[in-house]
Subunit: 338 residues, 2 copies
DNA sequence: CACGCAACTGTAACCGGTTACACGCGGCGC
DNA sequence: GCGCCGCGTGTAACCGGTTACAGTTGCGTG
């Protein structure tokens, strides 16, 4: 048989078997200090034979580095979550780091507990504050951290933060719709306390205002980023008189709900009502009609966050404290017909 | 100010400040052994004042428990990934565990390296073998692990495995389409080496065979689980003569691609071509027409996996070695009209 | 030939917790 | 008065690595 690896064996036993000291084993395995070729050879043989695997936890304790980072996220659904993790994981892997994720945090107190539990387990943190009320998250002093989202001041002055250009993207949609001649534009917002949702709404409102158009209160519908809420919102918007000539949903999932509702009502898109979303999820271009949206490189956001964190960990220089990931308007047939 | 927590302080310093021994601190914090109320009081005060936070890494070393589990996943996209992680995370949180994820593994050798790096960092593993060739993943002896996917024999005899009832779900779709009178049914498969994809194809083929229908080779199209491949496959299928009267895509993303292609070709769904998918992603019901699919409780899969792992970790009893998460057919207008 | 230095290796003290064992002490039964 | 017991606490040996420091060689030089 081939017991290739045997976790239950320690460095001292390997040392005994190879008739050298533990220091030598350590040095061979880490490529430090000068080692006689014969010794190295013998050690490696014994290591292979015994299937010795170093205990990372023990190593972390003495080196004071865990090679892993903690990722604290709010309750996230769908594409956004997986893309973000993908990006982070990719960045981590590239630098030999591991990722400890913890999602679904709604309560700051819960996060506080988590932070404590993470002490000694991770070298740094990527934190996404879910809601505005979470502005209160305090990172213990001396712990490198990067914040994600639209709440720059979250972690205190000294932590970098990355954000998506929600306001810019929403503004671009507004411009686009205005350029097409729309003046009454319905808006389906995201969850009340969600900062992305808020930034999108404000960006939209501001862009309208800049062109002298006001967002009428009866055209502003509450949503929760899920399909169903978009569906419901569109039904309500369609009933407003005069009916809006366009609808902008704060994310694609809700836009899809809107699309479904408009179809049910027999309203042509974009003929009678133009429609736009946000996120540009892969499916957006395959809808009927293909959905105008705002493309955000979420994986890149994750990867950048990781890069920032690592550059902080490894004593990197002083990069800008805030960084914004662009959001680009993607025009498709749901607004411009064919 | 309020330096609520201070990671840079050790238990010995706390002991000195509270004028007790380190053992006492440890006992108070862990609720072990008898402690005089006055002492406990004093210790807690000092702990609070100094903002002492125990170092989990050190604790892990001496207790030989890390309270975290490793999750090893293949390269995953979209909804499936996030739902799975959500389920796992939820199960972990409920038991005070942490989750160390690592995604995007295509190569068994890469996984091997990862396994070594995880030694001493996690108490157990949840492993999803991406492809058939990964059947070779060897878990070191003595490490509790749970496998996910359709390759029961993966980790050796002693590891439990959870699977989605891919074959059953695909069979149900086949039955459904046969019942509707379809005999020429196109199939869009997933990535070649993907075990879910394979099980779906085989389940479909088997169900057809059971009713005396053969899956014609020219109706079997290769896909990769992404929208675009579904689009391309549908175009090719539509060109086959005689044209299939129904298409079954191995996942919803590809089904959406198909839908888009059929629309481009001006083929009515389900009038001229019926369409079904697999996964029942949230969007499925909002498509035009709403998509017949197979619902899989992915989050539950993750949660069950975690539960199984933990029950193994905590010396739980002998539960069945294999468990299957059901997959239920959801019939919508893409197959039955209205 | 003594000395310095480089190459190599070993000893033991860390890292920051947990916990087996020992100890002091007051109360109890006899 | 003595022995025992249990409570509350401290001492020190772990857990499994890393690494500063201290040798021990062997070789080149003055």
């Amino acid at each position: 048989m081939d017991p290739k690896s045997n976790p239950s064996i320690s460095i001292r036993e390997v040392a005994a078997a190879a008739r050298v000291s533990v220091a030598t084993i350590s040095r061979v395995l880490n490529g430090k200090g000068p080692i006689h070729p014969d010794t190295r050879q013998r050690v490696l043989e014994v290591v292979a034979e015994l299937g010795y695997v170093p205990h990372s936890g023990a190593r972390s304790l003495s080196t004071r580095r865990t090679s892993s980072v903690g990722v604290i996220l709010p309750d996230l659904y769908g594409e956004f979550f997986s893309e973000l993790i993908r990006g982070i994981d990719q960045g981590a892997k590239a630098s030999g780091y591991h990722v400890l994720v913890s999602g679904s945090h709604s309560d700051p107190a819960e996060v506080e507990v988590l932070l404590r539990a993470l002490h000694g387990r991770v070298d740094g943190l990527i934190v996404m504050g879910p809601t505005r009320s979470t502005g209160a998250i305090r990172i213990p002093p001396g712990v490198p951290a990067v914040f994600l989202g639209d709440l720059p001041a979250q972690g205190g002055v000294d932590h970098p933060s990355l954000r998506i250009d929600n306001a810019g993207g929403a503004g671009a949609v507004a411009e686009h719709l205005l350029d097409l001649g729309h003046r009454r534009i319905g808006f389906v917002s995201g969850p009340a306390e969600n900062s992305d949702a808020e930034a999108r709404l404000e960006g939209f409102r501001a862009a309208l205002a800049a062109r002298g158009v006001e967002l009428a209160p009866e055209l502003l519908m509450a949503g929760d980023f899920r399909e169903e809420s978009g569906h419901a919102a569109a039904l309500r918007l369609a009933a407003v008189t005069p009916r809006p000539s366009a609808i902008f949903a704060a994310n694609d999932a809700m836009a899809i709900g809107c699309l479904s509702a408009l179809r049910d009502l027999g309203l042509a898109v974009p003929g009678e009502v133009a429609l736009a979303g946000f996120d540009d999820i892969p499916i957006a271009r395959y809808l009927a009609p293909p959905l105008t949206s705002v493309r955000v490189a979420i994986a890149e956001l994750g990867e950048r966050a990781m890069a920032r964190l690592l550059s902080g960990l490894e004593g990197g220089g002083a990069e800008p404290l805030e960084e914004t990931i662009p959001a680009a308007l993607v025009v498709r047939a749901s607004t411009v017909g064919l």
